[in-house]
């Protein structure tokens, strides 16, 4: 269960979104929508604990959270298996055998990650999520450069494995993922220019 | 064995070091050669 109450977040010292609130219960996903630059990335990073919120509460166990974006911690000098194995070790989990099927990586297991195509690399980045065993995922445009088939594959994994196992996902995306989840448009939360907070507050 | 006089250590060390290095080079080259030949045969026979 993830409860977000009145979270205000800032980037570059300037408030971007103010007083965002929502709940997501176990086994459910939420899709964040909004035009470029509204603050989706900022919000997700704040919720995942990568940057401090200006205000508001995120009610969830920090050990359940994980954030994923294009910068997905894939080492181009290591093979696909070595990459996944590393993150599995860090989180103290084994690499599930199903992961190769789920992300269509079976043929690429021994390939050096640097030689993958854009979409294949993205699939590897997503597979990391299946390895770390975290319950609450914050996904920032997870399906960028994936083809239609791979998008379906990912949606399937998300619903049949992650959500079905009691997980939660908050996803920012401009594309239709084909999963059945409520959407939240962030446009109304755009921060007022004059609201307080931010690093410069003391000087205003 | 010829009498090397007071320079025995130097002369023998020079021969030891040189022949040792050559041996290392030859053995390494040889080992890699054998390995590659075996690996190639394995692959060619499987494919």
């Amino acid at each position: 269960m993830l409860r977000v109450t009145d979270v205000t977040c800032a980037r570059g010292g300037i408030p971007v979104l103010s007083e965002v609130s929502f709940d997501v219960t176990a086994s459910k996903a939420l899709i964040l929508r909004g035009p470029n630059g509204i603050g989706k990335t900022t919000l997700l990073r704040t919720l995942a604990g990568l940057q401090p919120a200006l205000g508001g509460d995120v009610d969830a166990d920090v050990d359940d959270l994980a954030y994923a974006s294009h910068a997905d911690g894939i080492k181009t000098a290591l093979s696909v298996t070595e990459n996944l194995k590393f993150w599995a070790d860090i989180y103290g989990n084994p690499v599930p055998d199903t992961i190769w099927e789920a992300f269509d990586l079976a043929d690429l297991q021994d390939r050096i990650a640097g030689t993958l195509s854009a979409g294949q690399k993205r699939r590897l980045g997503l597979a990391r999520l299946g390895v770390i065993g975290r319950k609450i995922l914050f996904l920032d445009e997870p399906t960028v450069s994936l083809d239609g088939f791979s998008v379906k594959l990912f949606a399937k994994w998300l619903q049949d494995t992650h959500l079905a196992g009691g997980g939660i996902a908050v996803i920012a995306t401009h594309i239709d993922l084909g999963i059945d989840a409520p959407e939240l448009d962030l446009t109304p939360f755009k921060a007022d220019l004059n609201i307080g907070g931010g690093a410069d507050e003391a000087f205003l | 064995m010829p009498d090397l006089g007071k320079y025995a250590v130097e002369v023998l060390a020079a021969y030891g070091v040189s022949l040792g290095l050559l041996a290392v080079l030859i053995v390494l080259s040889w080992r890699r050669s054998v390995r590659m030949r075996a690996a190639l045969e394995r692959i060619e026979n499987n494919g």
Partner: protein
């Protein structure tokens, strides 16, 4: 049939296989004869005593060390101009041999230096240029190892080899300018004045021939290995795509 046909990998593998044992045989013969003659059956020098025996390793190794670089330079030029894979691989195969020869030259020289000059190492121009050569070999080998795509690696190492050669010559002059040395002049020159006496000269020549043959044999063997490695790479890549 053009001369370059022999540089086709398959042809190369074909003609080198029967030649290789003879080359190694001849090398072993020359080295055994030359070194045994030199070590057991030559007199001591009146000034240098028994240390003169080091010459049978030092000079051939030093000669091969520079010779190997010239061979690599030639192979690099052939690759750049004609793009024969075998020549690039031969340059790659030769580098570690050159490195070893340089090391032998340096170490035997150092050991010889202690009794002769009273120091293992002096910043003599000849010695110093050798040290720089050693660095060039290291850089060249590291470069080959660091680049994944073999053709790009061949291209870049060729450029390095060519530019490096120019700078190696430049360094040689610079080093001479910087320090006048202790080291012998060219004792192999045909000029009778400088010539080492015949007793040392004959086994020395045999040793040099032995080193050359050993070098040729090793280069051929290592080039064959490199060709096999490339073939493995190609086959594995193809299998992976299947």
């Amino acid at each position: 049939m053009s001369f370059w046909e022999y540089a086709n990998p398959k042809k190369f593998m074909g003609w080198t296989a029967p030649v290789l044992p003879y080359v190694f045989g001849a090398a072993a013969l020359c080295l055994t004869v030359g070194l045994i003659w030199g070590f057991f059956f030559t007199p001591d020098d009146f000034r240098q005593g028994s240390t003169v025996k080091i010459i049978y390793l030092h000079v051939p190794a030093a000669t091969m060390a520079t010779g190997t670089w010239f061979m690599m330079l030639a192979a690099s030029l052939i690759w750049v101009v004609r793009r024969h894979h075998v020549s690039a691989l031969a340059a790659r195969a030769a580098a570690p041999i050159g490195l070893t020869m340089t090391l032998i030259g340096l170490l035997t020289g150092a050991i010889w230096g202690q009794p002769m000059w009273g120091t293992y190492w002096a910043w003599d121009p000849r010695l110093t240029s050798f040290l720089i050569l050693f660095l060039f070999y290291l850089g060249y080998i590291a470069m080959w190892e660091a680049i994944e795509d073999p053709d790009t690696a061949a291209d870049l190492t060729s450029v390095l080899c060519m530019v490096g050669s120019v700078f190696a010559i430049l360094s040689r002059y610079a080093v001479n300018f910087w320090n006048q040395g202790l080291h012998q002049g060219a004792s192999l020159s045909l000029d009778a004045e400088e010539h080492v006496s015949d007793v040392f000269w004959q086994p020395l020549v045999i040793c040099i021939v032995g080193f050359v043959l050993l070098f040729v044999g090793l280069v051929l063997m290592r080039t064959r290995t490199e060709i096999r490695a490339r073939r493995i790479r190609a086959l594995e890549a193809r299998a992976r795509r299947a």
